[in-house]
């Protein structure tokens, strides 16, 4: 970690979570940043945005994560969240078919309207509930493949594949010069203070 901070660059990316209500968007974020976050997670709405850094090879990747919970039915507000995002996780619940259909619509919208370089991951969440599943792994995987998306089934409850999905996104994100990175107001390649360049979360902003 220290060597990464000493030799590697820090890249900052804005990531947005989209998906139907109650598919576990907030839970995935909380799982990803948990440990460095408050233990009593009895909150309904959580933080407006969270940051979390991960180390990848000799680089430090800092995610600025936007949870969109609450705006699902108010569609014209969504672009305010995903404009300028370099990455998106579209989440569905493997036990709720309608949420999978909704995820497809989100992906179509992102592909049309978000930054052309946006990295999109599809997350089939709640894979701990395998016995109640209504969307097979193959369906999710095939859709992701057709649309050139990253894909993992996750469980915020058991932590299965949660860190991994952020990691595969981190790997795929283009690490380029900040002036040309991603969309218009990309914040990529921001050098943080050395003491922040460790695997840690900044928590609630």
């Amino acid at each position: 970690m220290a060597s990464a901070a000493a030799t590697g660059k820090t890249f900052q990316f804005k990531l947005v979570l989209l998906g139907e209500s109650a598919v576990g968007k907030s839970s995935l974020v909380l799982r990803f940043v948990k440990g460095q976050f408050y233990e009593h997670q009895e909150s309904t709405i959580g933080a407006a945005f969270l940051t979390q850094t991960i180390n990848l090879d000799d680089m430090v990747i800092k995610f600025e994560i936007w949870d969109t919970a609450g705006q699902e039915r108010f569609h014209s507000l969504a672009p305010m969240y995903y404009r300028g995002a370099q990455a998106a996780i579209v989440v569905y619940d493997i036990t709720n078919k309608e949420s999978f259909n909704r995820a497809k619509v989100w992906i179509e919208e992102l592909q049309k309207q978000a930054s052309p370089n946006i990295v999109i991951a599809l997350a089939g969440n709640k894979n701990d509930l395998d016995t109640s599943r209504t969307t097979t792994y193959e369906e999710g995987s095939a859709f992701a493949e057709e649309n050139n998306l990253l894909f993992l089934e996750t469980s915020a409850k058991t932590a299965n594949n949660v860190n991994e999905i952020f990691m595969v996104i981190a790997k795929k994100l283009p690490k380029v010069n900040p002036t040309t990175a991603g969309p218009q107001r990309a914040q990529g390649n921001v050098d943080l203070n050395p003491q922040q360049n460790t695997q840690s979360s900044k928590g609630c902003c």
Partner: protein, 374 residues
């Protein structure tokens, strides 16, 4: 939203008080965030020590960066937070805090409409121009202004989640009733905000949108229109994808145009209009069709619609019914009563618009149509 731990660990009363605490504490934090944005950015435009850092042309755009955030701040700091804080000792008042302030919460419509302009400006001047960078450093904010000006959008969309949670934890009937009204009120506010955003992008409509009354509902529908006299159930209908804006006095049908490479919002090219006063009966469940379909009959035409989902169809049907009922009230007031009348004109039937027919009720009428056509 996964809140199972709450259910497992405490009594209903404790959980309830926890949700109210969360509502109050996050409101305090929100008010403090708004104050920071205003003092840390907006007011700094007047700070003589900072003025030299402001990029050329930016000073003139100051109001556009922030929209009506100061009005929002004053409302939350002086009225809403105080109201919610009082609920700490009188939890039964939470619902009324929302219903009493429904009109004021519509401040968010202006904020969200302006925010599109603000985003364009931030892209133009950059989040990390020397002035904003200095403001951010003084505030010790980990993220730039563009993140913070999204906070009002996030906040207004979170209240209904907290209210839903509170409803789950409430057993007292009167309080439940107030909370349900609060959810409806905040839902109306959000719908209003949502709807008002879309109409910004209508292109090619020559009239004045403000003459059309309130914007009631907006959304994508597949639409086809037939002359009533040509209508035959067996006729294959071609549906067009339209973004439909329904106002008190008119429905506007627009073709959605995807945004170009500049990452802006889509635009809506005006195609046609249907005055609500010309709309006759609403057919909620047309024959032989998809459950997402519904029809509106005018004097000479049948407008058939297909919503993307059954839930969205229900939203449309609700709004159309409201308009028809309001029209009916107005007509009654004007003592212009329409009668059910089996006309001889090609089987055209003029029906009291108050009557929202179900398919089975309509069967006999359609049969008349079909017979006349054949």
């Amino acid at each position: 939203m996964n809140i199972q731990p709450v259910i497992e660990t405490g009594t209903i009363r404790r959980k309830r008080s926890h949700v109210i605490q969360e509502l109050i504490e996050t409101e305090r934090a929100y008010v403090s965030d708004l104050k920071n944005i205003i003092q840390g950015y907006y007011d700094q435009f007047d700070n003589e020590e900072m003025v030299h850092l402001i990029p050329e042309g930016m000073m003139a755009k100051r109001e556009t960066f922030f929209g009506n955030i100061r009005d929002i701040y004053h409302f939350h700091a002086e009225i809403f937070l105080k109201g919610l804080e009082a609920c700490d000792s009188r939890p039964s008042e939470v619902g009324r805090c929302f219903t009493d302030n429904k009109e004021r919460l519509q401040l968010y419509s202006e904020y969200c409409q302006n925010k599109i302009q603000a985003e364009i400006l931030i892209e133009k001047f950059g989040d990390s121009n020397p002035f904003f960078k200095a403001c951010q450093a003084k505030l010790n904010h980990p993220l730039p202004l563009s993140s913070y000006i999204l906070k009002p959008v996030q906040r207004i969309t979170k209240y209904h989640l907290l209210l839903k949670e509170l409803i789950r934890m409430t057993t007292q009937e009167e309080e439940l009733c107030d909370l349900r009204k609060a959810i409806v009120a905040i839902g109306d506010v959000l719908r209003f905000v949502n709807n008002s955003m879309h109409q910004l992008s209508i292109i090619g409509y020559n009239g004045n949108l403000s003459d059309l009354g309130r914007l009631l509902i907006v959304g994508p529908l597949e639409v086809t229109v037939d002359k009533r006299k040509d209508r035959s159930p067996s006729l294959k209908q071609t549906y067009h994808k339209r973004q439909v804006f329904m106002y008190d006095r008119c429905l506007l049908f627009c073709k959605r145009k995807e945004p170009g490479s500049n990452n802006t919002l889509p635009s809506y090219i005006f195609k046609s209009a249907l005055k609500t006063e010309e709309v006759g009966p609403l057919v909620e469940s047309p024959r032989g069709g998809d459950e997402r379909k519904f029809e509106l009959w005018s004097k000479n035409e049948v407008w058939s619609f297909m919503a993307p989902s059954i839930a969205e169809k229900a939203d449309w049907v609700d709004e159309i019914k409201k308009v028809l009922f309001e029209q009916m009230d107005m007509m009654r007031a004007a003592s212009k009563r329409l009668h059910i009348d089996s006309s001889t004109d090609g089987g055209v039937v003029i029906i009291d618009p108050l009557v929202c027919l179900q398919s089975n009720e309509l069967d006999s009428l359609l049969t008349v149509d079909t017979l006349n056509l054949s």
